[in-house]
């Protein structure tokens, strides 16, 4: 008995050593290139930290006060209606669902309360005599969230649709898979160069097409209303192929016999899709959703190269503001503080997504 126990102990020790050995390279890299910069940014965010001299002074919360503070706030029912109305609709849908017995009532209640709190909070804004300490931070945050909210569902839905279309044997499907994935391998500079030409109001493809229908050419990248949608379209073209590949892998993991059984039971295509495909893709969906949201919150290259945040600040995003504060203005402390806020935001959104999917799994 004691000999068997000793063998098990030795085996466990060996397993631990092997596990540590395999984990070591990644752990070291993660420590040096991920954890260390995060701790460093957290530390730097409490100082006026000058990039050029690397001098730190004035320890305190001034960077966070500059970023998040302001004066002369008022509340109005009509402020940011384009955000608040959809949030109210979502809250109403969740509440009605809970009242009809779908989902957990406690969780639904918390969600509704949080959404209503957000709807009320979004009514606060600087009045005629007031202002944010850094209005560009709030503009950048708003545009970053808008970019994420528009691009993520598109990338998810299109990626899935394309995966369903090309998930079949044969050369043609294989060719399409390659063609759809191809843009993803291009660097951001090439992608933006192509799309800047396409959007060019004098010589671009879009202008030629709209002109043929008698529509005046539109300067998409210099329009405050269209700049972000134009960059979203570029991003979708560029990155949707990667999501498609993930969904194709997920589709191929679904047991074909399930479809056969469903067919024998008289299930149609839509029913099979809703009851077999979607549940089978739940984990891939979570992966795509989380990585997409994280990537969208960090959007920078396309915006910087296509619009430079303009016109005005109408397409300014958080990473560009961080980059300009840190590199152009040498204010590394403030840039670090903004990075930390962005990190917290991304972590919070990712954790909520993980939590909800996990609970649904349970």
């Amino acid at each position: 008995m004691s000999q068997a126990s000793a063998i098990r102990r030795r085996s466990r020790t060996g397993d631990t050593r092997a596990a540590l050995l395999f984990l070591l390279p990644f752990s070291v890299l993660a420590l040096v290139f991920i954890l260390y910069p995060v701790v460093q940014a957290l530390y730097m965010g409490f100082f006026d930290w000058d990039l050029l001299t690397q001098r730190a002074q004035n320890f305190g919360l001034q960077n966070y006060v500059t970023m998040l503070g302001g004066h002369g706030f008022v509340w109005s029912a009509t402020h940011m209606l384009t955000w608040r109305v959809p949030l109210l609709v979502v809250a109403a849908v969740v509440a009605v669902g809970a009242l009809r017995g779908r989902g957990r009532p406690l969780r639904a209640g918390v969600v509704v309360l949080l959404l209503l709190g957000l709807v009320v909070a979004l009514g606060f804004h600087p009045g005629p005599q007031g202002s944010w300490n850094d209005p560009r931070f709030w503009a950048a945050l708003q545009h970053t969230i808008e970019f994420t909210v528009i691009s993520t569902p598109l990338l998810l839905a299109l990626g899935l649709a394309m995966a369903l279309a090309v998930n079949r044997p044969g050369r043609a499907a294989s060719w399409y898979r390659g063609a759809f994935f191809l843009p993803y391998v291009l660097p951001v500079s090439v992608v933006t160069l192509i799309w800047i030409y396409l959007y060019n109001p004098s010589r671009g493809l879009f202008a030629s097409v709209t002109s043929a229908f008698g529509v005046e050419p539109i300067d998409y990248l210099n329009s405050s209303a269209l700049a972000i949608p134009a960059v979203v379209l570029t991003t979708v073209w560029w990155t949707v192929g990667f999501n498609m590949v993930l969904f194709v892998a997920g589709l191929q993991d679904i047991e074909p016999s399930l479809y056969e059984a469903a067919s024998l039971d008289g299930a149609g295509r839509v029913q099979s899709f809703l009851n077999i495909t979607l549940p089978g893709l739940r984990r891939v969906m979570l992966l795509v959703l989380v990585t997409q949201v994280v990537a969208s919150f960090q959007v920078f290259g396309q915006i910087y190269l296509m619009t430079r945040g303009g016109p005005g600040d109408s397409s300014l995003v958080l990473i560009q503001h961080i980059y300009q504060s840190g590199i152009r203005d040498s204010d590394l402390g403030y840039a670090s503080a903004m990075s930390i806020v962005l990190l917290v935001l991304i972590l919070a959104v990712s954790l909520v997504q993980l939590r909800f999917f996990k609970e649904d799994d349970a």
Binding site: T13, T16, R17, L20, L31, V32, L35, Y36, V38, V39, Q40, Y43, D50, L51, L52, T53, Q54, R55, A56, P201, S202, R203, P217, D219, N222, S223, S224, G309, G310, P311, G312, D313, S314, Q324, I327, R328, D329, S330, D331
Partner: protein, 456 residues
């Protein structure tokens, strides 16, 4: 081996903190280091310079494949070739055997990001090209050498320097830079089209002298030719340059060297109002990019193109119409035009080394002494009055037509944080033609944003 969660977490926190404390060393540079570095040049003997190798940072590009080992600058056709050939010439002709090599990479749009990264890493090149408006960001932090000693050691001085060039080199009375040119906005004119519109007199274009005349001439030109009277690119902050020129023509710069912001003023309103009128009347095109405006001009579709000194030779050589470069039009009270200056500065090094500082200064002084070699292939204005008035310079194509620009230059202000302020100003004013923001509101926003940026 037992590995508890507590141990793992402790290690995860302790290791980054340990790394952090090692990374938080004191700052380099400082005014004292800069002063000591500058003084160290005085004791350097010529023999100490023998065979030294130094690096230079500039944003004119790497066209070494085109120029090879050429040392004859007259063969250059653009800025890149001229700068690389001048480097070759310095390497071939300096009596000390100093060799300068370019630290390549960044083009001008991202140049200062690369410069900042080099300073942050405490590894700036030995000598750096810098716009005069960027100097305060570095000199105020003690990152640049004061150059009085260097000027004396290399036998150059400010006595033969135009007033704007001298202003470009000095910050609060201290010499920090060696200027090699002034560059400014010019009117590039298609004389054939202007003649067709009756806007040529004695072989020279008749340029407007008031906002009203500008609009009248535009109407006359469009009726006579059916083409665009005036054009400029709307990217690269060019509308800011036009705005600042119009403001300067009313007596005050948009921002003084002391940091006083003069944007939301009657002069600002007149300047921005005029630009807005030109766009809304269809005289100028708010959608035209730098490339599109230039192409339209070279295709013969534009009467006057507002662009810089750097394209004079190119247009002179390639335009298939009668081309003329002349001063930016004075439409308000006095001449005044956006201008900047390319200068060379010497960064403080962590391994301060008198001979290397002196070698860098020799390179900068060589470029100053060869300002005509830089001006002739490019179109930029030399910084030495003796060169500006020389027959060799004035006989070069077009140069006599815009010689007054050297005196009328309204230099971009020398204040710390200017680049961010200029971007903020451009963003605020472009709202007028891109999003329909009223002029008054845009000016108030610009004033507020620029003040905030300069305060930050």
């Amino acid at each position: 081996m037992k590995l508890s969660t507590t141990r793992v977490l402790t290690a995860a926190v302790a290791v980054p903190l340990a790394l952090l404390t090692t990374a938080c060393g004191g700052g380099g540079g400082g005014q004292q280091a800069a002063a000591e570095g500058a003084a160290s040049m005085a004791d350097v003997k010529d023999s100490d310079l023998n065979g030294l190798k130094i690096s230079v940072g500039d944003f004119f590009g790497d066209c070494i494949d085109e120029v090879g080992t050429e040392t004859d600058v007259t063969k250059a056709t653009n800025e890149c070739q001229a700068m690389r050939i001048l480097n070759n010439k310095f390497n071939a002709e300096n009596p000390y055997g100093i060799t300068v090599t370019r630290e390549g990479g960044a083009e001008w749009k991202s140049y200062y990001d690369a410069v900042n990264a080099a300073f942050a890493a405490k590894k700036p090149p030995n000598v750096l090209l810098m716009h005069e408006s960027n100097i305060p960001d570095y000199s105020s932090r003690g990152l640049l050498l004061p150059l009085e000693t260097g000027y004396k050691a290399t036998g150059i001085g400010t006595s033969d320097m135009t007033e704007p060039a001298q202003a470009a080199a000095e910050i609060d009375g201290t010499l920090y830079a060696v200027p090699i040119d002034e560059h400014a906005s010019l009117s590039h004119v298609n004389l054939d089209l202007m003649a067709k519109a009756g806007l040529v007199k004695d072989g020279k274009p008749v340029l407007p002298t008031s906002p009203e005349e500008l609009k009248q001439q535009a109407q006359k030109f469009q009726q006579a030719t059916g083409k665009q009277y005036i054009a400029w690119g709307n990217d690269f902050n060019i509308p800011f340059r036009i705005f600042s020129s119009f403001v300067a023509q009313q007596g005050d710069p948009v921002v003084t060297d002391k940091g006083k912001v003069n944007i939301d003023t009657p002069a600002g309103k007149a300047a921005l109002g005029l630009i807005s009128d030109l766009y809304s009347a269809g005289i100028a095109d708010p959608q035209q990019t730098y490339d599109a405006a230039q192409q339209a001009f070279l295709n013969g579709d534009v009467g006057i193109l507002i662009n810089g000194t750097w394209v004079v030779n190119e247009y002179n050589n390639t335009a298939d119409f009668t081309y003329l470069a002349t001063d930016f039009p004075t439409v308000f009270d006095q001449p005044g035009v956006w201008a900047n200056s390319h200068t060379f500065v010497i960064p403080v090094q962590t391994d301060a080394n008198g001979p290397k500082y002196r070698a860098a200064m020799e390179y900068a002084a060589f470029m100053y002494k060869n300002d005509i070699s830089w001006a002739l292939p490019t179109g930029h204005l030399p910084v030495r009055p003796s060169v500006l008035s020389s027959a060799k310079y004035l006989e070069a194509p077009q140069r006599e037509n815009y010689i007054d620009t050297a005196d009328n230059a309204a230099l971009v202000p020398q204040v710390r944080g200017w680049q961010g302020a200029e971007d903020a100003l451009q963003h605020a004013i472009e709202g007028v033609w891109l999003t329909g923001t009223p002029v008054d509101k845009a000016l108030a926003q610009a004033q507020k944003d620029v003040e905030a940026q300069l305060k930050g």
